[in-house]
C-alpha cells in the first residue's frame, strides 16, 4: 500500500487567480502505509485516512476536499517522478527542509513529490502533473480534458498500458476514486450541480489555506524581529556596562580601540559620561588651585598645582581625540556641552582667541613682555582659527558640490553607479572633517600650553582660574535659563 504524506509548498507562488492552488505534496511513505496524512497544519482539511488504504468513499471525500493528488505509478509500483517544474519551485521546496524528516526519506529513496494544480474553470478540470516517469496512471481518456498543461508526453502512451492496472490494482484505488469524480466532471463537459458546489468549496478551502499560510509567515517574521530586537538590546546593555567600566579608567586613558568597537551611540554616550567625570575632577583641581592661590603658597607648590591642571586638560583633549574618531558629528554638535557654551563653540570646542581676549583684561598687571606675549599668542591663534575656518568652508562647499551633482532625478543604471560614487566621495570628505576637528583641538591645546609657558607660575595659575570661572558661569547660565519659569 502506498502512503502519502501531504505537505504544502511553501514557496509556491500563484499569480494566476484562476489557478486553484492545490499544492500539497504527497510523499511516499517508506513503510508503504497508504495513509494520507497531513503533516502540516494547513492541510487540516485533509482527512486522516485510516491505515489500510483508501476506500472509495474516502477517496471521494478527498477529491471534494481538493487535497488530493494523484501519483503516477509504474506497474511495478515504483514511481519515478521527475520534476518538470511547471511552476518552478518544486525542487527548491524539496530542498527547503520544510518537509521535515519525511522529505529526506523521500529524497533518499529517490521518490519525489509532485504537485498538482487543479484548474477550475467553466468547462474542464485540468490538472498539471509534474511527472515524466513512465506511467500515466490517471486513467484512460481523462487526459484529453486535462489540456495542454499536462506535461508527461510519453506517459500518455502508457496510459492505456496502465489503465487496466489502475482498474484492477488496488493500489490505484485512490486514483480510481478520483477518476470517478473526474468522470462525473467530464461527462458531457457540463458541470453538474455537485461539481459546482465542489468548485466553491474547493476555492474557499484553497483561500483559507492561503490565508493561514500567510498569517503563519507573518507570525514567523514577527517572532524573528522580536528575537533580533532582544539580542540587540542585550548587546547594547552589555556595551553600556563595558563603557561604564571603561570610564573608571579615565586617568590612564581609555584605549582608542575599544571606543571604536562600540557602536556610535555607545561611543557618544561613553564620551559624555567621561567628559562629565572629567569636569568633576577638573572642578576639584581648580578648587585646590584656588585655595593654593588664596593662601599664597610658594611658587613650587603652585607650579605643582598648575601642572596638575594642565595635565588634566591634556586628558580631555585625549578624550576628544577618541570621541572625534568614533563620532565626529557628536563632537561637532556640542551636545556634550551646556547650551550657553554651545553658543560660543567653534569647531567642536572653545575658541582660544576669545579666551585670550578675556584673559588679557583680567590678569594682574602684566609686564610689557607678558602683554606682548599674550597679544602675539592671541593673534597667532586667531590666524590659525581663520585658516581652519576657511579650510572648513572649502570642505563644506566641496561636500555640497559632491552631493548636489547629477541631481537630475532621472533613473537608470548609470545613475546608480554615479550615486554610489558620489557617496563614496562624500564619505571621504567626512573623514576630512575629523581631521579638521582634531586640528581645532590641537590648536586649543597648544594655546593653553603656550599661555602657561609665557606667564609666570602665579600668573598662569590665575589665568587658569579665570578661564575655569568663565566656563563655570556659562554652565550656570545654561542651568538658570533652562530652569527659568516659563510664562
Amino acid at each position: 500500500m502506498q502512503g502519502f504524506k501531504a505537505a504544502p509548498s511553501p514557496t509556491f507562488n500563484l499569480t494566476n487567480s484562476d489557478m486553484f492552488c492545490q499544492s500539497p505534496f504527497y510523499l511516499r511513505d517508506n513503510e508503504g502505509n497508504r495513509n494520507v496524512t497531513s503533516s502540516y497544519a494547513d492541510l487540516g482539511e485533509l482527512e486522516q485516512v485510516t491505515a489500510g488504504g483508501l476506500h472509495q468513499e474516502s477517496v471521494a471525500d478527498l477529491s471534494r476536499s481538493s487535497m488530493y493528488t494523484s501519483t503516477m505509478m509504474k506497474p511495478n509500483n515504483v514511481p519515478h517522478f521527475t520534476n518538470a517544474l511547471p511552476f518552478g519551485v518544486l525542487t527548491t521546496s524539496l530542498g527547503s527542509g520544510e518537509m521535515g524528516s519525511s522529505a529526506t526519506d523521500v529524497v533518499d529513496t529517490g521518490q519525489f513529490m509532485f504537485q498538482e494544480v487543479v484548474q477550475v474553470n467553466n468547462s474542464t478540470i485540468t490538472s498539471t502533473m509534474v511527472d515524466v516517469g513512465n506511467c500515466g496512471v490517471l486513467g484512460n481518456g481523462h487526459f484529453e480534458n486535462w489540456g495542454d498543461s499536462y506535461l508527461a508526453d510519453h506517459s500518455l502512451s502508457q496510459r492505456t498500458d496502465t489503465s487496466t492496472d489502475v482498474d484492477t490494482n488496488d493500489k490505484y484505488q485512490f486514483c480510481e476514486g478520483r477518476h470517478e469524480s473526474l468522470i462525473v466532471a467530464e461527462s458531457g463537459g457540463v458541470q453538474s450541480k455537485g461539481i459546482c458546489h465542489d468548485q466553491k468549496a474547493l476555492r474557499r478551502l484553497a483561500q483559507n489555506r492561503e490565508a493561514a499560510r500567510e498569517s503563519r509567515q507573518r507570525k514567523k517574521a514577527y517572532v524573528q524581529q522580536l528575537e533580533n530586537s532582544r539580542i540587540k538590546l542585550a548587546q547594547l546593555e552589555q556595551e553600556l556596562k563595558r563603557e561604564r567600566h571603561q570610564g573608571s579608567f579615565v586617568g590612564s586613558g581609555v584605549s582608542g580601540d575599544q571606543s571604536q568597537h562600540a557602536n556610535i551611540n555607545g561611543a557618544s554616550l561613553a564620551f559624555d559620561m567621561e567628559y562629565a567625570r572629567w569636569l568633576e575632577e577638573h572642578q576639584r583641581l581648580i578648587n585646590e588651585l584656588r585655595t593654593a592661590v588664596n593662601s599664597h603658597l610658594g611658587d613650587n607648590e603652585l607650579r605643582v598645582r598648575v601642572d596638575g591642571v594642565m595635565g588634566h586638560y591634556d586628558k580631555v583633549f585625549q578624550l576628544k581625540l577618541i570621541g572625534t574618531k568614533s563620532d565626529v558629528f557628536h563632537m561637532l554638535s556640542g551636545m556634550w556641552k551646556t547650551p550657553a557654551e554651545r553658543c560660543f563653540m567653534w569647531l567642536g570646542g572653545f575658541r582660544s582667541s576669545e579666551l585670550l581676549k578675556i584673559l588679557g583684561n583680567h590678569l594682574e598687571p602684566l609686564t610689557d613682555q607678558h602683554l606682548l606675549g599674550i597679544c602675539n599668542l592671541q593673534q597667532s591663534s586667531q590666524e590659525a582659527e581663520d585658516a581652519l575656518s576657511q579650510g572648513l568652508e572649502a570642505l563644506q562647499q566641496s561636500l555640497s558640490d559632491t552631493l548636489s551633482s547629477n541631481c537630475h532625478g532621472s533613473t537608470g543604471s548609470g545613475n546608480v553607479a554615479d550615486y554610489m560614487g558620489q557617496m563614496a566621495t562624500a564619505m571621504g570628505k567626512i573623514a576630512m572633517l575629523e581631521i579638521f576637528v582634531h586640528q581645532g583641538d590641537l590648536l586649543r591645546q597648544q594655546t593653553i600650553h603656550q599661555l602657561c609657558r609665557i606667564l609666570t607660575t602665579r600668573q598662569a595659575a590665575q589665568a587658569l582660574l579665570v578661564m575655569s570661572d568663565y566656563m563655570s558661569r556659562l554652565q550656570a547660565l545654561s542651568s538658570l535659563w533652562s530652569a527659568r519659569p516659563k510664562s
Binding site: 597667532s380 591663534s381 585658516a387 581652519l388 576657511q390 570642505l395 576630512m432 586640528q439
Partner: protein
C-alpha cells in the same frame, strides 16, 4: 591669493637635468624657494595651510601633486615616507621652509602658536618686517 603655482610644462622646459629619484626631486624643489608647499588641489587642509601662510604675508610656492601627471604619485609616496607615520589619510599638505621640512598642518600650527614660525619665515626670507 598671491601664491604662484608652478606650471609643470614651463618647469620642464627650464630644467634640463631632471633627477629620477622622487625624494631628490622634492628636495630640489623645496630648496628653490623660501616657502614650498606640496599640495593637492582638492584637499581642504591644503587650502587652510595656504590661507594661513598667505594671511601672514608669505608668498609660498605651491606644487599641486595631482596636476603632475608624471611624477605626482611617486612624489606623494616619497613624501609619505619622509613624514614617517602619517596618521591622517592624506599626506598633504607638506610645508618646507628654507629648504627644510616643517611638516603638515599640525606642525605648522604648533610652530605658529609657540612663536617659532615667524622667526623661521624671516630667516628664510619669506617675511620682512
Amino acid at each position: 591669493m598671491h601664491y604662484q603655482t608652478e606650471s609643470w610644462n614651463s618647469y620642464m622646459s627650464q630644467k634640463i637635468n631632471i633627477t629620477n629619484d622622487p625624494l631628490q626631486h622634492i628636495e630640489r624643489l623645496a630648496s628653490e624657494n623660501a616657502v614650498v608647499i606640496f599640495s593637492i588641489s582638492s584637499c581642504c587642509m591644503c587650502h587652510a595651510v595656504k590661507r594661513l601662510l598667505c594671511g601672514m604675508g608669505v608668498n609660498p610656492t605651491v606644487y599641486e601633486l595631482d596636476q603632475d601627471p608624471m611624477r605626482g604619485k611617486e612624489m606623494e609616496m616619497a613624501l609619505m615616507m619622509l613624514l614617517g607615520n602619517s596618521c591622517t589619510p592624506s599626506v598633504v599638505p607638506v610645508v618646507f621652509i628654507g629648504g627644510k621640512l616643517v611638516g603638515g598642518m599640525d606642525r605648522v600650527m604648533t610652530s605658529h602658536i609657540n612663536g617659532s614660525l615667524v622667526p623661521l619665515l624671516k630667516q628664510a626670507g619669506a617675511l620682512w618686517l
